[in-house]
Amino acid sequence: MENIFVNAAGGIRNLLESAGLPGLAVDLIVLTVIFVAILVFVLLNVLWLVYMERKVSAFIQCRIGPNRVGPMGLFQTIADTVKLISKEIIIPKNTNKKLFLLAPVMIFMPPMAVFAVTPFGKGMVALDLNIGVYYFVALASLSTVIIWTAGWTSNNKYSLLGSMRVVAQMVSYEVPLLLSIVGVVLLTGTLNLTGIITSQQSVWFIFLQPLAFLIYLIAAVAETNRTPFDLVEGESEIITGPFTEYSGMGFAFFFLAEYANVLLVSMLASILFLGGWLAPFGLTFIPSWIWLLLKVYLMIFILMWLRWTYPRIRIDQMMAFCWKVLVPLAIVNIFVTGIGKYLYESVRW
């Protein structure tokens, strides 16, 4: 069970090598298979998350939630997707047609590119980059521009308001997000995601960096544009903001990409703070990839819980909270971590 995926990849590699293919072609085919597997994993998770979100919200609001399509409403998302595919894609008159259609296509690119360096389990990482964490945040920052493009080309005042909010919000909250990660990087001395996981062997970083974890959690909610920071979409004031003009699959892509981003930030949280695929209490009979999934889903549940518990805050409150509370706290956290590490290394008790 533990090595099922690693062995599968090794098996494909051996099969291709014994067929006499040159090394480069074998690498190419194996990497393609791995990337397709990651793609399928992400899409399945996203479909499940849409269903889970509705069930969790129903649970919190004392409702039943989707319960008609399939057992316990499990096929609800599939039915919704089929409905969205069959809908007409409406392109408003005064839009830049190419950019308008390009934005929903590009929105999946940053999360997909980031999943290439994520360790899904022991030895289960497509590309073990040295600068994994940095690559992660660098690529993830690109989605800002894509959502902004969507809002801008829609040529609609609500979309424009929403896309300007996207820029303001996501750029601002990227600062505390990055600064909270610096604390973990200081402790491990590496930017490699696998290295960060293995250095949590004795203690998870949530216990050494509780403040950083809190800041990361809040900034992650803001980065994924979810309540209480969903001013970007704000159904009741700006009618889902940048996505107002999108219909059918164009809208569905943005909707699904939001869940891909939720999966992404939860994965980074469990890698950086919850020990990644390491098993707690020596329960190693459960495979590492199941442990990672359990932690990721714990994080996702917390995000959903926040979403359905808190009301939306005002934009000035949001910006003030970021720049006057989160950023100073994150900087203090870096100072304390640095001094603590220095003291620990000089005393070595």
Partner: protein
């Protein structure tokens, strides 16, 4: 074999850089120019990756594609102009530009042909950040901090400027 693929990748990336840079200059709409500028920056990051400089490539994406271009977006947000369609005018003086650009290109080409290139004696280290960080934070810590202070001053200045405009009020 390896070099052929590198060459193909370099030609593709170089073409992307040049093509999108040309679009940045010639497109009439400022917003479209910014979007092609992002493509330029990402292609430059690809060239850095080709040279095994992975950290530099990530910096390129985060700071330039994700940061500098967003700054231009902030600029678009702050200027008060009802129509952005003709915001990036081109004067089409191609003759003069070709002369100047060609001259600089010939000059650089001449120097490049005459200089003696150092062939790197050692392999590119696997851990690029680990060797880079100590240099930045010990040997060059003063220039590093001066740059940080400069940026803080620029940030404060920009804030003051925007506040000033707001205090003066009716510019619409």
């Amino acid at each position: 074999m390896e070099n052929v693929y590198e060459l193909i990748a370099f030609i593709l990336l170089g073409g992307m850089v040049l093509g999108s840079a040309l679009l940045v200059v010639t497109l009439k709409n400022l917003v479209h120019s910014v979007l092609s500028l992002i493509v330029t920056f990402i292609a430059v990051a690809g060239i850095f990756l080709l040279l095994n400089a992975d950290f530099l490539a990530a910096v390129q994406v985060l700071v330039y594609a994700g940061g500098v271009c967003i700054m231009v977006v902030f600029g678009v947000m702050l200027i008060q102009r009802s129509d952005i369609a003709e915001s990036n005018p081109v004067n089409w003086r191609f003759g003069f530009a070709a002369l100047l650009g060609g001259g600089i290109f010939i000059l650089i080409g001449m120097f490049a042909a005459r200089s003696q290139w150092m062939i790197a004696g050692t392999e590119v280290p696997k851990d690029t950040v680990g060797t880079f960080a100590p240099i930045l934070l010990t040997d060059f810590v003063i220039p590093f901090e001066v740059a940080a202070i400069l940026l803080t001053v620029a940030l404060t200045g920009a804030l003051l400027l925007v506040k000033e405009v707001k205090a003066n009020g009716d510019r619409s």
